[in-house]
């Protein structure tokens, strides 16, 4: 039998039992759709996170925190120190500025405190930075939407992140430029501890950032001059030092990182954007493997379904196989006819599955985006107003198709082989 005749014969057999073929195909559709949806969403999520990280954490910057050792970098922002009791001081920036390839560095002091704006009290992060230097490093994000960010700020002003003023990001402003903002500090040394309310004025409101970069500006922070932070929190220690390099070249990053570590005799952690991106990417590969594995299980189940249906169909068509063989059909051709049916089911299921998975991924992304609508402000806050654009890479697209066809064929091999081995005399006698 010629290949085209074999194919059209297989097609005619599938067309005969449309509902059964459709249900068998549905198994493949579900499996492939799950794989495509999960992988394209996680791919999209990874892209979103990567972009936001890159925005909030420029590639030519390093973040230095106290506490040496492996992985210490993830203590960022928690102000954690090493076991040795080493802490970074605000004027350690001078030491770092002396290291080759360092353009400049700036210290950050941050605390989590209660902040009252327009009568609403919320726990927020207070960040003490040098406004001019901070803007120099984060020139895209540390930008005022209303008011202006002063380069030589007075002591009684703050720069507010977007969500400080507009928590729902829907235009409902709790205050405006020149409005009052209260920072409630705890006097921990007093017994019993007391609260101190510090009155400040909003001098600028940042434009919406949407990202959550390490060290970079965020929508939910209140920025005060570094000297003010030192006074208010009564400290010379800083939580991190952001280092701007003269180039984002990988060797420059590596050399500067090492030089900084060496300078502080291993008592600091230095992380770079590329390192964080590397970690993010490796975490996502694990997640994708895990999700893909779960989805693959459903495809295996579909495969068992195909095998089951094929065996039933084999029994129903025993006589037909007998006729084919009596007419001179080779065993190999009978095998091909059955495998061909599996390929058709796999291809149809794969194609529909990829389409459905893609639609599903986009629906999920849409729900995610509209989280605020569906789940109220908290969800929107949790996702940080993140926008996920599902990504369907050609590898996932072709891989899913191939996997669908592969599973169908693998599970059809046994029934097809059995069909091909039927003896014509026995098959013709079969009732």
């Amino acid at each position: 039998m010629k290949a085209r005749d074999t194919l059209s014969y297989s097609f005619s057999a599938i067309k005969l039992r449309k509902l059964r073929a459709a249900l068998t195909t549905l198994g493949v559709v579900i499996g492939i759709a799950a794989i495509v949806a999960l992988l394209s969403i996680s791919q999209g999520l990874q892209n979103t996170i990567t972009v936001q990280l890159q925005r909030g954490f420029a590639t030519d910057t390093l973040i230095v925190t106290a506490g040496g050792g492996v992985g210490g970098g993830f203590g960022v922002g928690l102000g954690g120190g090493g076991d040795s009791g080493f802490t970074l001081l605000v004027n350690d920036t001078q030491t770092i500025n002396g290291i080759p390839n360092v353009d400049m560095s700036l210290a950050i002091i941050q605390r989590t405190v209660n902040v009252t704006v327009g009568g609403t009290n919320k726990i927020r992060t207070i960040v003490g930075v040098d406004f001019a230097d901070y803007h120099n490093v984060y020139s895209d994000t540390f930008v005022a939407d209303r008011g202006t960010i002063p380069l030589n700020p007075e002591s009684n002003i703050v720069v507010a992140g977007r969500r400080i003023i507009d928590p729902q990001l829907n235009g409902t402003m709790l205050a405006d430029v020149n409005g009052p903002i209260d920072i409630i500090l705890i006097n921990a040394t007093a017994r019993p501890p007391t609260t101190i309310t510090v009155h400040r004025n909003i001098t600028a409101i940042l434009k919406e950032i949407g990202s959550f970069g390490v060290g970079g500006p965020s929508d939910s922070s209140v920025y005060i001059p570094i000297a003010q932070a030192q006074t208010l929190f009564d400290t010379n220690e800083c939580d991190m030092i952001i280092v701007k390099l003269k180039s984002s070249d990988q060797t420059v990053i590596d050399n500067a990182s090492k030089a900084i570590k060496d300078k502080f005799v291993g008592e600091v952690s230095v992380i770079s954007a590329t390192a964080v991106l590397g970690i993010v990417s490796s975490i996502f590969s694990i997640i994708e493997l895990f999700l893909g594995g779960i989805a693959a299980i459903s495809l295996i189940v579909a495969g068992v379904g195909i095998m089951n249906i094929m065996i039933v169909s084999l029994m129903e068509r025993t006589r037909e196989i007998g006729i084919l063989k009596a007419l001179g059909t080779k065993s190999r051709t009978v095998l091909l006819i059955f495998l061909c049916e599996a390929v058709i089911i796999g291809l149809m299921g794969g194609a529909i599955g990829v389409g459905l998975g893609w639609v599903l991924a986009n629906v999920v992304a849409l729900v995610f985006r509209g989280g605020g609508v569906f789940m109220g402000g908290q969800a929107a806050g949790a996702t940080g107003g993140m926008t996920i654009t599902p990504v369907l890479t050609p590898i996932v697209f072709l891989g899913a198709l191939a996997f669908g066809v592969g599973v169908s064929v693998v599970f059809a091999i046994y029934p097809a082989w059995r069909a091909s081995k039927l003896k014509p005399v026995d098959a013709l006698r079969y009732e």
């Binding site: 039998m1 037909e320 084919l324 063989k325 009596a326 007419l327 001179g328 080779k330 051709t333 013709l428």
Partner: protein, 227 residues
């Protein structure tokens, strides 16, 4: 006249469950080209087994079976398959494929033999004309009467220009009037188109319409009659 089929001390044993059955116990038979042979016998006499062996659907246990001079028992599966394409088989229960029309059923046997598509169509239509079913070629088996289905089956059997036609109770499942028509068709093919035919039947009356009749009993040919 050349010898097409020659059986020498042909034996066939098969297992029915676990019980061995000696279906053929040493059959000697010679069929010449142009013959119309009827194999007559009661059920269980081994006539269908003999026909299946001649049609290369099964292999003998012992003895020799020469089809056009080639010993069937020495052939492998692929060679047996090739042999089947040179044999036209007609079954009692027609064995047409229900989802295909009359024409498609005939074309199927040609597509198995790798005949080109336009040639298939041309030949199928010619054959349907020969068996008198040209008008009904686009009907499916379920839309045809038993007699019509058997005519399609005969047309299908002839599609690849077989060396001989093998018929297993071809009229066993149709009424006697139609059976006569079918017999007339086969006789016509044999006499006018020189098609060699071997027919298995248990109907004495039909058997006499052939050129030669052999009677089988308990796996042996017990009598040969030239009609």
């Amino acid at each position: 006249m050349t010898t097409i089929v020659e059986a020498m001390n042909l034996k066939k044993m098969y297992l029915l469950g676990k019980v061995p059955v000696n279906a053929l116990r040493g059959v000697n038979l010679k069929v010449e080209s142009g013959d119309f042979l009827a194999i007559l016998g009661p059920s269980g006499s081994g006539k269908s087994t003999l026909l299946n062996l001649i049609g290369a659907l099964d292999k003998p246990t012992e003895g020799k079976l020469l089809i056009e001079g080639v010993d069937v028992s020495t052939l492998n599966d692929n060679q047996l398959t090739d042999l089947r394409r040179r044999v036209g088989f007609v079954f009692q229960f027609f064995n047409l494929i229900p989802r295909f029309t009359a024409r498609e059923n005939i074309e199927l046997s040609m597509s198995i033999a790798d005949v080109s598509k336009p040639e298939r169509r041309k030949r199928a239509e010619g054959l349907l004309e020969t068996v008198g079913l040209k008008e009904r070629m686009n009907h499916k088996p379920a839309e045809l009467s038993g007699g019509e289905q058997q005519r399609v089956a005969i047309a299908r059997a002839l599609a690849n220009n077989p060396r001989f036609l093998l018929m297993d109770e071809p009229t066993g499942n149709i009424d006697s009037k139609t059976a006569n028509e079918i017999m007339g068709l086969v006789k016509g093919l044999n006499e006018e188109k020189d098609v060699t035919a071997i027919m298995v039947t248990h109907d004495q009356r039909l058997a006499t319409q052939s050129k030669k009749t052999v009677l089988m009993l308990d796996g042996l040919i017990v009598q040969e009659t030239v009609n």
